[in-house]
């Protein structure tokens, strides 16, 4: 076989693999879109489930997911960003910082159900939060932390060293340099990472399973100490735990569509932020 043929085969093999990956995504989206869209309506989004969840909407599940994602954001974003700033800008390269980094990497590999158990032990029982939005939000926050820390560190690393030196040379302290020169340049990358992390958290089931999510509630949560319904858990119930699974299948697909829609919106927001800041920094 000459080099030309082998190159032809090589490139097309790679192309084939890429097409395969994209088509998986396409099939999933198409399936959910086709089977889920008939269920969609304003009532579906704005009403409570009715008749043992065989009719009605998923409003409390949407609100629950929004609530718990907000708590996750408030907990994980500041903590993760602070940790990343310390690691990237201040920590010297010694065994302490190396072990912190190793721990974060390992944390990212822990199965989400383990986070759920941990959440029960620490937040629900240990800290007495009970099964609540707060406990679930914190648990999801822990799950999201490694992701936020890693992406923030990457974003900070992309800020050229010459910008830091420029600030130092003008008599800026270390903190002034970080705050007024490094962070503004890194914000788009940090925001993107944080939002993508949250969009993953919003779709998780296992960590909220024991820590606060409820099968069915007739009221919206009034505060962070209440239990809540959530889209991923609602979907789980409709597709495996319901007494009339076949009957509620359209509702399950509708829920899946709404969940994917929410995640998509978050991703689009991340994309827009990155795009806008990037052109801003380039000076157009």
């Amino acid at each position: 076989m000459n080099t030309k043929t082998s190159q032809f085969i090589g490139i097309n093999l790679l192309l084939l693999c890429s097409i395969l990956v994209i088509s998986f995504l396409g099939i999933i989206l198409w399936d959910i879109l086709i089977k889920g869209s008939p269920a969609l309506s304003t009532e579906f989004i704005s009403e409570y489930p009715q008749n043992g969840m065989t009719e009605g909407g998923i409003f409390p599940a949407i609100m629950g997911t929004v609530w718990v994602t907000l708590v996750t954001a408030l907990f994980a974003i500041p903590l993760g960003i602070a940790c990343a700033i310390y690691l990237s800008e201040y920590a010297e390269d010694n065994w302490v910082s190396r072990s912190i980094r190793a721990s974060i990497r390992n944390l990212a590999g822990v199965p989400s159900i383990i986070y759920g158990l941990f959440g029960v032990a620490i937040f629900v029982q240990g800290m007495g939060m009970g099964t609540s939005i707060l406990a679930s939000g914190f648990t999801l926050g822990l799950l999201t932390l490694p992701y936020i820390i890693t992406t923030t560190e990457e974003a900070l690393k992309t800020v050229p060293q010459s910008h830091r030196e420029g600030a130092f040379a003008l008599g800026a302290t270390h903190w002034e340099t970080v705050r007024s020169v490094v962070l503004p340049s890194a914000i788009p990358g940090m925001m993107t990472g944080a939002i993508l992390g949250l969009s993953r958290a919003a779709g998780e089931t296992a960590p909220i399973l024991f820590t606060g999510v409820a099968f069915y509630l007739r009221y919206l949560p009034a505060g962070v100490f209440d239990e809540f319904m959530a889209l991923p858990y609602h979907l789980y119930i409709l597709s495996t735990q319901h007494h009339a699974i076949e009957q509620v299948r359209p509702l399950a697909y509708g829920t899946a569509l709404v969940l994917i829609g929410l995640v998509c919106i978050l991703n689009i927001v991340a994309f827009v932020i990155r795009h806008r800041y990037r052109s801003l920094l380039k000076g157009h």
């Binding site: 010459s162 030196e165 040379a169 003008l170 008599g171 002034e176 340049s185 000076g283």
Partner: protein
Amino acid sequence: MKPKLETRDINLSFGSKHVLKDINIQIPEKRIVALIGPSGCGKSTLLRCMNRMHDLNPDAHVKGDIFLDGENIYSSDYDVVGVRRKIGMVFQRPNPFPKSIFNNIAYGLRINKLAEKKEIPNVVEESLKGSYLWDEVKDSLDSSALSLSGGQQQRLCIARAIAIRPEVILMDEPTSALDPISTGKVEELMVELKKEFTIVIVTHSMQQARRISDHVGFMYLGDLAEYGPTERVFTNPQNELTEKYISGSFG
């Protein structure tokens, strides 16, 4: 004449690599001193000792003293951040912040609290005029500094450095990333600036050192091999290595 800046037995090593060896150099006030020498001779490293830029690098170990107006900037009770306000720096590659032209210059004023809020526009204008950039940017102060050309960016960086009124300006090959026309402008600017500031410049170009400097130091393998008035060093070098270098035998 009493030197403005003076190094005494400066030694620097990166890890186990000994980069600067017993450097003693006296920088006279309101003059331009050029440091020349082949790549890796330590001239940029020496320059960065003068505003304690190596403090940021945990691998760098500096021994020795540097005196600014007779005060040791390496003594333990000296304010490290403050020294960089008195000794400014312009880098090899223009490094404006990704902010507006105005804010690039206002930055140093704000963090050092050098001007009242309403005074800042005046200082910005003055600094931009001082670096001959004002006429080119006066209508676009709010646009990003990154939209300027390389030469304009470097003059902006010089304006940014002079805005906080330092006493000494260190320039690390400030024209090496610029085209000949921009280089010419920056050189003219340096000669103008020496009326007010003491300037130390590291340069790869012997012609540039000869054109603009009053004193020139030739460095070789971490030693200051020769130091003297520019004309004398170029016409009558005392050190064999200097002679070889300026005649182009190596470098």
